[in-house]
Each structure stands twice: as C-alpha cells, then as structure tokens.
C-alpha cells in the first residue's frame, strides 16, 4: 500500500510542477503542430492519400515530440539536486518511476487530445466515429512510450550530450509502438473502419513487458 500512497503523492508533485508553468505541455503541443504542418508541405496530402499515411505521420510526430518531452523528466531532478531527496522519501524507488510515467502518460494524452481535432481538420480524416477506439490506442501507446521513455531518461540524464542521447536511445526502442500504433490507427481511419484487436493487444504486451523490466531493474537506474 505504501507504494500506491508514495506514487500518488509523487504524481501530485509532478502534476503541480507542470501545471504551475505548463512548459512541457505547451512546447510539446507546439512542436507536434509544427511537425504536422511541415509534413503537409513535404507531402501535399489529398484526402485519399492522407487516409493512407496520415496515421503514420501522426505517430511519427508524437514519437519525436515524446523524445523531447521526456527529456526533463529526470534532468530536472538532477539539476535541482532533488533526486537523492526523492530516493530517500520513498521506500520503493519504483514509486518514483510509476509517478513519473503516470505523469508523462497524462501529459502525452493531453497533448494528443488537444491536437486530434486539428489533425482531423488538417488531414481531412474522420475521427469522431472511432473516437473511443482512438483513445484506447492513444492511451496504451502513450503508456508504452512513457514507460520506456522514463526508464531511458533516467539513463540519459546521467550521461554527456544528454539532450541528443535520449532520442538516439529511445526511438529505435519504440519501433514496435510506431509500427503497430500507426497500423491500428490507419485501419480506424479507413473508409470502413475496423478495430485491430491483435494490434491493441500487442501494444498492451509491450507495456506489460517494459513495465515488468522497469519494476525489476528500476532501482539500479537511480543508484548513486
């Protein structure tokens, strides 16, 4: 029970820090917006084409954005010298990871939700009829991105060139999420939408595998 109590206290701290400045959310949203607009210049989408590749673009933009957004996750603690205090304050260091990945998932989801209407308008894809399925995919994929990203940002924060390093470590690791989420989203945005359960299950498996790995090895990531 102490794990849950610790996690919720730390999650409160993460959310408070972010919503005081809203730095992360604003920069992430603006970044995704810029990428989506730039894509449209690079490809000049028509309505039929955009059904084909818009979902891929969306996930690529989200992946790039998340590799930037996850950067300050542990860097902030490092710069403010608060990591040791955090570690001392909880009995199980897994709580630190759980809180951070929950916060990151929430931020990513918020950014996705705010951008979805814009994406639908810009790329002319109907999202309303399949909104609930999209939300499920967004949630599971954002969770996966956040689990892997939180773990790796703990690694990259301790290295040189950390700003460049995180995307290099994270993006290849997230290929399964990109491939599967893009495919599932594509079939949802199809003329005759259908749900790919196998894909949704697959993202779920990714989440479980990496969450287990983080649970097993997380404490070593924070060793002094």
């Amino acid at each position: 029970m102490s794990l849950l109590a610790n996690t919720s206290a730390l999650l409160g701290k993460e959310l408070r820090t972010e919503f005081r400045s809203r730095e992360l959310l604003t920069t992430t949203i603006v970044f995704i917006l810029i990428v989506l607009v730039l894509f449209s210049f690079a490809f000049n989408p028509t309505s039929d084409e955009s059904r084909q590749f818009a979902s891929g673009l969306l996930w690529l933009a989200l992946l790039f954005a998340s590799s930037l957004m996850l950067q300050p996750c542990f860097l902030r603690e490092q710069n403010n010298d608060t990591l040791s205090a955090l570690r001392l304050s909880v009995s199980d260091p897994f709580a630190i990871f759980l809180a951070k990945l929950a916060a990151n998932t929430l931020f990513l989801l918020l950014a996705e939700l705010l951008l979805l209407p814009l994406f639908a308008v810009m790329y002319n894809v109907p999202v309303v009829p399949v909104l609930h399925w999209l939300l499920l995919v967004f949630f599971l994929a954002s969770l996966g991105i956040s689990i892997a990203g939180t773990a790796l940002s703990a690694i990259s924060a301790q290295a040189r060139m950390r700003e460049l390093l995180l995307p290099l470590l994270l993006l290849p690791l997230l290929t399964p999420i990109l491939v599967v989420s893009a495919e599932v989203t594509r079939s949802l945005l199809d003329r005759e939408p259908f749900v790919r359960w196998k894909g949704i299950g697959f993202i779920g498996v990714f989440d479980v595998v990496f969450l287990t790995a983080l649970w097993l090895f997380g404490e070593y990531l924070l060793e002094e």
């Binding site: 892997a148 773990a151 790796l152 690694i155 301790q158 290295a159 040189r160 060139m161 390093l165 290099l168 470590l169 290849p172 690791l173 290929t175 399964p176 491939v179 599967v180 495919e183 196998k198 894909g199 697959f202 498996v205 990714f206 595998v209 990496f210 790995a213 090895f217 070593y220 990531l221 060793e223």
Partner: protein, 225 residues
C-alpha cells in the same frame, strides 16, 4: 601470445574450410544455382551475431547482479563483435538480394528488425562513450543493454505481423522447410566456424579491454604517487 596465435591459426583454418565447403562441396541450389552460396556466410554470420548479442545480454544481467568489472568487459567485447557480424549480415544481404530478388533492400520483417537491432547496439556503444565514470558507465549501459535485448523479439513480432520478400525460415521453419543433407552439413559447419571466429574475437577483445583497465589503474596509481 603464442596461445592466441595458435588458436587464431585454427580459427583461420576453420573459416577457410567452411568457405571451401560452401564453394566446392555444397551442391547448387535449384533456382538460384551458384548464387545462393553466399547463404553459408550470410546466415552463419547472422547466427553468430545473435549469439554474441545473447552473450552480451547475459553479461549485462550478471553485471547488474554481481557488479564485477569482468562482466562489463565481456559485455562490451561481445556487443562490438556482434555488431561486426550483424554489419556483415547487413552488407552480404543486399549483395545477395539484388540478383535474387532484383532489389537491394526491402522493408520486410527480418531485414528491418536486423537493422533496428543494429541501431540499438550502435546506441549501446554510443551510450558507453558518453559516460565518464567507469562504474556508472558499466551499470547504465548494462541496463540499456537489457532493455534493448528485450525489445528485439517485440520489434521482430511487430514488423512481422504488420509489415509483410524474405524467404520463410528454411531451417527449423516447420514442415516443408529444410535443407539438402550435404547443404545442411556444410551450413552447420559454417555456423560452427563463425561461432569459433566470434568466440575468438570476443576473447581477444576481452583481453584488450582488460589491458586497458589495467593500464588505467597503473596510470592512476602513478598520478597518485
């Protein structure tokens, strides 16, 4: 020194014998004729590379558990050697694919996941160069190595089920698959030769890493006095 020279000679002999088998003993293939002979090199190197990465994964786990520097040395050695073998695979693949399929590269499951695997281990080596302190470097890179290795089957599954010219597995690929008996013998001999070569390279690289850490130790002691 003499020992490694002798072992080196044996390794060269084995690899040479495997090449002889691939070129002269193995029969021609039905559709690709002589062209397929690169297979003995390509697939055997792939197996050896995968084994090297598996060795790296085990060494990573052992390091996290035991915190012994020698596991870190094994991990870096096998990661570098594995990367060399997978690079060979990624180069011989297109050489074979161009005449056989008509294109150098296709985004099929095994090619793409091998490429992602290659990228992951490049990142692993890159990470190692960016952490100064040796204990921290060993621990953090071991943890990244573990995450990367866990990711490999997931990457493969994702690409296989959602992006599908690579032939179906010929060996251990279920009914209908299989090699001609002579081909099989030559292939497994090539696999053996490549594994011996891999083990030899890892051992040599390990020795180098040990010398490097010893040198570092001596230098530090000299600076202290």
């Amino acid at each position: 020194m003499l020992k490694s020279a002798v072992i080196g000679a044996v390794v060269v002999f084995l690899v040479g014998a495997a090449a002889y088998g691939a070129f002269y003993i193995a029969p021609d293939e039905k559709t690709m004729h002589v062209l397929y002979r690169i297979f003995y090199f390509h697939a055997a190197a792939a197996w050896a590379g995968m084994t090297a990465f598996f060795v790296c994964f085990v060494a990573n786990l052992l390091y996290v558990w035991r915190r012994d520097e020698k596991y870190d040395a094994v991990a870096i050695s096998s990661a570098e050697v594995g990367l060399a073998f997978i690079t060979v695979v990624l180069i011989t693949g297109p050489i074979w694919a161009k005449p056989a399929w008509g294109i150098y590269w296709t985004w099929d499951a095994r090619l793409t996941s091998t490429f992602v695997l290659w990228l992951l281990y490049i990142s692993y080596l890159l990470l190692r160069t960016l952490i100064e302190e040796s204990d921290r470097r060993a621990l953090l890179s071991a943890l990244f190595g573990i995450f990367a290795f866990i990711d490999v089957p997931i990457v493969f599954g994702a690409i296989r089920w959602w992006r599908t010219q690579h032939p179906a597995p010929v060996i251990m690929g279920g009914p209908g698959s299989g090699l001609d008996p002579t081909m099989r013998k030559v292939f497994f001999f090539s696999v053996l030769a490549m594994h011996v070569l891999m083990a030899f390279l890892i051992a040599e690289r390990y020795r180098l890493e040990k010398l490097r850490t010893d040198l570092e130790l001596v230098r530090r002691e000299a600076e202290a006095t």
